[in-house]
């Protein structure tokens, strides 16, 4: 299922320039690239080495240290189920279980159709609306098993 991502080098360049090729902005550059492809394609790393003047090992250590960055391809929709305390006591695990069996993937995995990646994430700060889930940058609150599954269906239809 691995398909090579075709990279828009112009946009990658403009991201690097937006941060003035600043080494200290490495994490933000990786985040912006990640927002384009839902992961950081390894092909960009040599370019970052050259343009930012940092070691390859630093890029890998930053990319693997921070949870928002993935070096592996992820789905079109990243399902981030909040596992913060408030969501936990209101049943976040049940949402996770429901998605897990619906999509047939474990936490951290991507569905075979490359549509969904399932993540359990730390508190996203919508505690009063818990249990909540982010689908990419959109937040959905007050979920239960059936509304979570309905949401998946909506995104499926959106994609088709």
């Amino acid at each position: 299922m691995e398909t090579k991502t075709s990279i828009d080098w112009k946009r990658v360049d403009s991201i690097i320039e937006k941060y003035n090729r600043d080494k200290e902005s490495l994490l933000m550059i990786l985040q912006d690239i990640s927002d384009m492809y839902n992961y950081v394609p390894p092909e960009v790393i040599p370019v970052l080495v050259k343009k930012l003047g940092v070691r390859e090992s630093l890029i890998y250590s930053v990319a693997t240290f921070y949870k928002t960055i993935s070096l592996k391809p992820r789905g079109k929709y990243i399902l981030s189920v909040c596992t913060g305390t408030a969501c936990h006591v209101r049943g976040a695990e049940k949402i996770m279980d429901a998605l897990h069996s619906e999509l047939n993937i474990a936490e951290g995995e991507t569905s075979e159709d490359r549509l969904f990646t399932l993540l359990g994430v730390r508190c996203i700060g919508c505690c009063a609306s818990g249990p909540v889930m982010n689908v990419n940058h959109d937040t959905h609150g007050g979920l239960d098993r059936s509304s979570a599954l309905k949401l998946i269906e909506e995104y499926r239809q959106q994609a088709s």
Partner: protein, 617 residues
């Protein structure tokens, strides 16, 4: 925007904004667009409202403002109609036509939409009369529901940046520091260190000093910083500029979570507009003082809330903490003197400068001054953000403001201080909440998360939850934290799955004590707290898991099962219909039974039964 060249031009701008507000006398609809309400669908309500107002030709007469978080997030999306303050909770797009027709055109209330107090069952029309708001003192959070966070004019019109004028033109840096010291303000991020003393120490060190705002809100269950940055970013910016004047800094950073996109956007807009007005950047308000603020987005690492880790992350490195023999006020970011305060701390600064240290210090307890914003969440009726004076009791917060526990369940504990805090049992409900009182009972204030737990919360599972969280978030540099958490998690998982054995509790206590002594950073030394306070107050639950192989709360699946009480079951068939595994059977109007072999213990029948007939055994 024209640059403001001196304090007089800022005052003139403020005056003109006040006049505009008075002359307009427009009806104003404030619609909460904070992340909580947003998750319930504010955007669709806003679209519908704009459309309806246009249909009725009311667009020019009625202003619609998308504001920051109003705090009562449980009831989102929230709409408040000014000047009356009519409060409509849980608004759906379908409700909008009736609101426009009745309330906005004819001045009538839509009775079906008015807030009903769950305690008294009475309708309450106005925002300020609702117990959730009435019992709060919203010094820091009050403007959130009134101003558009993307409009600097709104902030200035409401008196914003007047504290900056005062600090720039009427006060010497030392006088600012003295005022903050005298106010008794302590760090709102968790540590509770006196802010004035931190500033004074940083100002004493030579070099390029940095002023940094910690918006890496990491405690699960706490979101007051998110709401402040989203709803009133200028208050944080103003606080930081005043801090920079006091400390003698020309460059500041806000380190904010990438997972808070709206906070990043609103803060970015705030900085831009402040720059274009000459409130930020070179020669602020013609004073000769230069200061600018940059945004740095964190990448989802809890440990980055720790000061040294945060500064490493700001430098573009992995956020690993270091031992603090040399404090960050001496050598921090870029090896320079760096003053780090939390979002809420910064937002307190303009208030203190404006109203004076004496006024500020009159609020609160002997050693904890001012108000504190708590995020009251979990098993509580009115969830949301609550701002109260320090010293308010847990009972007042949870029961009077929070409305108590839903579904007539029993209160069990309140977790404060996030993963570094602890669970406080019922017998301490009358404890006045401040930095020192919470520490006395083994928890901490932390950044202000308050997660209420009821009879259905398993305390061993809660401890396992926190340790599991911390194990993932440990940076892995030091043995006590990395290995200690791993072993604690193994033991707690065994207990939760029925493999607990005698001696487990004592080993947990021993590992905890070791970590408190020897871990490298604050995250590691405080990591065992949730387990240790939990054992202290809920040892009987641990023993029930280990000795009786029972989870009394019905959370740990291998340690309980559901049964139907034939005396209470009315045979309404609700559980049988809802069960996803068809494990419930029985004739209509006759007691039902659960087939234990098919039951997956999902709890749907337990939650759905209106007759309390499903028992945890």
């Amino acid at each position: 925007m024209t640059k403001l060249i001196n304090r007089e031009s800022l005052d003139q701008l403020r005056e003109s904004l006040k006049d505009r507000a008075k002359l307009g006398e427009k009806k104003l609809i404030s619609l909460c667009a904070g992340s909580g309400c947003g998750a319930y669908g504010t955007a669709k309500v806003y679209e519908k409202l704009k459309e309806e107002l246009a249909n009725h030709g009311l667009t020019d007469d009625i202003e619609v403002k998308l504001t920051g978080c109003h705090g009562f997030c449980e009831k989102g999306p929230i709409m408040v109609i000014h000047p009356e303050g009519i409060f409509y909770p849980q608004i759906k797009p379908d409700f909008v036509p009736e609101i426009v027709e009745k309330t906005l055109k004819n001045g009538e209330l839509v009775k079906s939409l008015i807030y009903k107090d769950p305690a008294t069952k009475k309708n309450i029309t106005h925002e300020h009369e609702i117990p959730f708001y009435k019992l709060q003192q919203r010094v820091i959070f009050g403007s959130n529901g009134l101003i558009d966070p993307t409009s600097i004019e709104d902030y200035i019109g409401a008196g914003g940046y007047s504290a900056l004028s005062k600090a720039l033109f009427d006060m010497k840096p030392k006088a600012i520091i003295d005022e903050i010291k005298k106010s008794g303000l302590r760090g709102r991020g968790g540590g509770g260190f006196p802010t004035g003393i931190k500033w004074e120490t940083c100002a004493r060190h030579h070099g390029n000093r940095y002023v940094i705002c910690n918006a890496d809100e990491g405690d699960p269950g706490a979101y007051m910083d998110r709401s402040l940055l989203e709803g009133n970013p200028h208050s944080v910016v103003e606080g930081m500029i005043i801090g920079a004047i006091a400390i003698g800094s020309n460059e500041g950073y806000v380190y904010v979570r990438h997972e808070y996109p709206l906070a990043v956007t609103n803060l970015g807009k705030a900085l831009e507009s402040a720059r274009s007005l000459g409130i930020l950047g070179k020669n602020i308000l013609g004073s000769g003082f230069d200061f600018d603020i940059h945004i740095s987005r964190g990448g989802g690492a809890f440990v980055c809330g720790e000061s040294t880790a945060l500064m490493a992350s700001l430098e573009g490195k992995p956020g690993r903490p270091r031992a603090k023999y040399v404090h960050t006020v001496a050598k921090g970011f870029r090896d320079s003197p760096s003053n780090l305060n939390n979002v809420e701390t910064w937002a307190n600064v303009p208030v203190i400068i404006n109203k004076g240290a004496d006024w500020y210090a009159s609020i609160g307890t002997q050693h904890s001054k001012g108000t504190k914003i708590f995020s009251l969440v979990g098993k509580v009726v009115n969830t949301g953000l609550v701002e109260v004076p320090m010293g308010t009791t847990l009972r007042q917060i949870i029961f009077d403001i929070g409305g108590g526990i839903p579904k007539k369940k029993k209160f069990k504990a309140v977790q404060t201080g996030g993963p570094s805090g602890g669970c406080i049992p019922e017998r301490f409900l009358d404890l006045p909440v401040d930095f020192d009182e919470l520490t006395k009972v083994g928890s901490i204030m932390g950044s202000g998360g308050m997660i209420v737990m009821d009879q259905d919360t398993c305390m061993v599972d809660v401890a396992r939850y926190f340790v599991d969280f911390l194990k993932d978030e440990s940076c892995g540099q030091c043995n006590p934290c990395r290995e200690g958490l791993k072993h604690m998690l193994d033991i707690l998982t065994d207990i939760c799955q029925g493999r607990g054995k005698e001696g487990d509790i004592e080993i947990l206590e021993e590992i905890g004590a070791m970590m408190q002594k020897f871990a490298l950073c604050g995250l590691g030394t405080s990591a065992p707290n949730p387990v240790l306070t939990n054992i202290l107050y809920f040892r009987d639950e641990y023993e029930a898991h280990i000795r009786d192989k029972k989870c009394p709360a019905g959370v740990c699946k291998p340690l309980f099962h559901y049964e139907i009480d034939p005396e209470k079951c009315t045979g309404c068939t609700v559980c049988a219909k809802k069960c996803p595994k068809e494990a419930v059977s029985g004739e209509k109007k006759k007691p039902h039974a659960i087939d234990q072999n098919n039951c997956i213990k999902c709890g749907i029948c337990y939650e759905g039964c209106k007759f309390d007939a499903i028992k945890i055994c």
